[in-house]
């Protein structure tokens, strides 16, 4: 299978600043890849390198199987993008801004502009000058421009920026349907963890220019999995009780961790058998190690 995106030792320096440090990315066709990082981690520089906007100091980039040229040439007819904050020609209407994108994508059929306006719910703003749009609608215009030519690959930098909560859900559903129904590959960066967590099938975490971890579907499932935490005064007695009741568990920091579906569905039953065994729980809680915790552990929080 050809990777939709492939980088080999991608490195970008700006003078003394090492913005991206030897990143090896592989994004398969049809994947939704979330690219997470703190502000200044190197997300946007990586995205600009993927789009041929900055030249790698070292390494190379392949997009849809094609190596990007030093002059920024690439398979751009099949790629839609949204980089950093959305922008548009302020004195042109929403429709005219999209018509410009249509022309530059060499698309003859002007109906695609009307279709994307309808799809991104921009109808009531179609003839309004872009300079008068709210941040959220400007973001919609940017997304409309990225989707206008029905690309095979979408490279989106913070696609949920500026959208209201309903807009975030709407765009998430739209991206999900593009990936699942049309096989569009989506590479999206974000610092909004929940957003990436809800959409991505794979996640890469970038920190100080380095790709420090990639989480595949299995690991994400694990991270998203809940467990029951039980603390008791007599750990040994509680273990014997749970073993004899047929539960599997692990011990971590004097805490019993149960992943069993029955335990998660009926924590009251766990409490009941422990009380009957004379080892009443001092703490009983369903916990979920989420992506946020994992991310903060990896990146050292807000440091």
């Amino acid at each position: 299978m050809i990777n939709a995106i492939e980088t080999n030792q991608l490195t970008k320096r700006f003078g003394d600043v090492l913005a991206v440090d030897a990143i090896n990315l592989r994004v398969g066709t049809g994947e939704i890849y979330g690219f997470l990082g703190l502000n200044g981690a190197g997300k946007t520089t990586t995205i600009r390198a993927l789009l041929g906007m900055v030249r790698p100091s070292a390494g190379d980039v392949k997009v849809l199987g094609q190596a990007l040229g030093p002059d920024g040439r690439g398979p751009w007819a099949q790629v839609g993008h949204l980089v950093e904050s959305p922008s548009a020609y302020p004195e042109l209407s929403v429709r005219e801004n999209l018509d410009i994108a249509r022309r530059l994508h060499a698309k003859q059929d002007s109906k695609i502009v009307d279709e994307i306006i309808e799809r991104l719910v921009l109808g009531s703003y179609a003839d309004r000058k872009a300079g008068t749009l709210s941040m959220g609608n400007l973001q919609r215009l940017g997304l409309a421009r990225a989707l206008l030519h029905e690309p095979e690959l979408l490279i989106l930098d913070e696609p949920a920026n500026g959208l209201d909560p309903a807009g975030v859900v709407e765009i998430r559903d739209l991206l999900r349907s593009l990936a699942h129904e049309k096989g569009v590959t989506i590479f999206m960066s974000s610092h909004i963890l929940t957003e990436v967590d809800k959409l991505a099938s794979r996640i890469g975490i970038i920190h100080k220019g380095k790709l420090i971890e990639e989480l595949d579907t299995q690991k994400l499932e694990l991270l998203r999995a809940k467990h029951l935490e039980v603390q008791v005064r007599n750990l040994e007695a509680a273990q014997i009780c749970l073993q004899s009741a047929g539960f599997k568990f692990t011990i971590k920091d004097e805490t019993i961790l149960l992943n069993d579906a029955q335990a998660l569905a009926r924590p009251d039953y766990i409490a009941h058998i422990l009380v009957n065994a004379g080892s009443a729980p001092t703490r009983l809680a369903i916990e979920q190690q989420n992506l946020e915790e994992h991310f903060l552990q990896l990146t050292g929080g807000a440091q």
Partner: protein, 262 residues
């Protein structure tokens, strides 16, 4: 070619929707209209004296009320005023993409960057030359309305070369403005470049090296210090074309190869 046609359509639409071209027309109407006012004043010196400072200055600056004086003013306006207004227009065409943060929308497209930059240059050249023609035609109309003497076919022919030629020379030098607006990522660096070239052109002309300094050549061509044959040689035209080609090459190279981080 389709790529280029698309890019040209896009640049034309952006220009049509902006007020900047209108302001350049207004700006370039000033010279012929002021020239006409000077001619009215100079036609009647007694009345002009009674008008005070303005008429005195007009007498000093413009000479006598005749076609050769008006044509000379128009040629100077193209060479000097054109340099300023055309540079502002060029800075807007190229620099707006960075001020509006739209440059990033022009880079990863099936339409090549060369086509986009080429279209920007074509729009700049066509519009600025239309301004030259507008200044020329408006000057002719104003001269006819004021009814000044001294019209001869020979004067008309040579003045046409002076006015249209000096405008053309200014336009030929615009690629460096485009380059400074692009590499400087906005309007300000190109305005800095404009001020630098205006000052340097004055210094070069005063020190007698104007024929070797491209940005002095348009004013010398327009007859700012006397007949151009005395001050300009073939080398002056070669050097102005070389400067233009270097500016063009630098702008295309920058858009193709420079890191685009804005």
């Amino acid at each position: 070619m389709n790529n280029f046609a698309s890019a040209l359509w896009v640049e034309t639409l952006k220009m049509r929707r902006s007020k900047v071209p209108l302001f350049t027309v207004l700006g370039f109407s000033i010279a012929p209209l002021i020239g006409g006012l000077f001619m009215i004043i100079l036609k009647d010196p007694i009345k002009a004296q009674s008008m005070g400072l303005i008429s005195t200055k007009a007498q000093l600056a413009a000479g006598t009320a005749e076609w050769s004086t008006l044509f000379n003013m128009l040629a100077q306006a193209n060479a000097v005023g054109g340099g300023v207004i055309f540079a502002i227009f060029t800075a807007w065409i190229f620099g707006r993409e960075f001020s509006d943060h739209t440059a990033k929308e022009l880079l990863a497209l099936p339409t090549s960057r060369e086509a986009i930059v080429g279209a920007k240059f074509v729009v700049t050249a066509v519009w600025t030359y239309l301004l030259v023609l507008w200044c020329y035609v408006l000057g002719l109309i104003v001269g006819q309305l004021v009814d000044i003497p001294g019209w001869t076919p020979e004067l008309f022919r040579s003045a046409t070369v002076d006015i249209l030629g000096s405008g053309l020379l200014v336009i030929i030098l615009l690629p460096f403005v485009a380059f400074s607006a692009s590499a400087g990522k906005g309007y300000l660096p190109s305005f800095g470049w404009l001020v630098l070239t205006v000052v340097m052109a004055q210094i070069a002309a005063i020190t007698g090296w104007g024929d070797w300094f491209p940005w002095s050549v348009p004013a010398l061509f327009a007859g700012a210090v006397g007949p151009r044959t005395e001050f300009l040689g073939a080398h002056s035209y070669v050097i102005i074309i070389l400067a233009s080609l270097i500016g063009l090459a630098a702008t295309f190279y920058w858009w193709r190869n420079a890191d685009q981080t804005k």
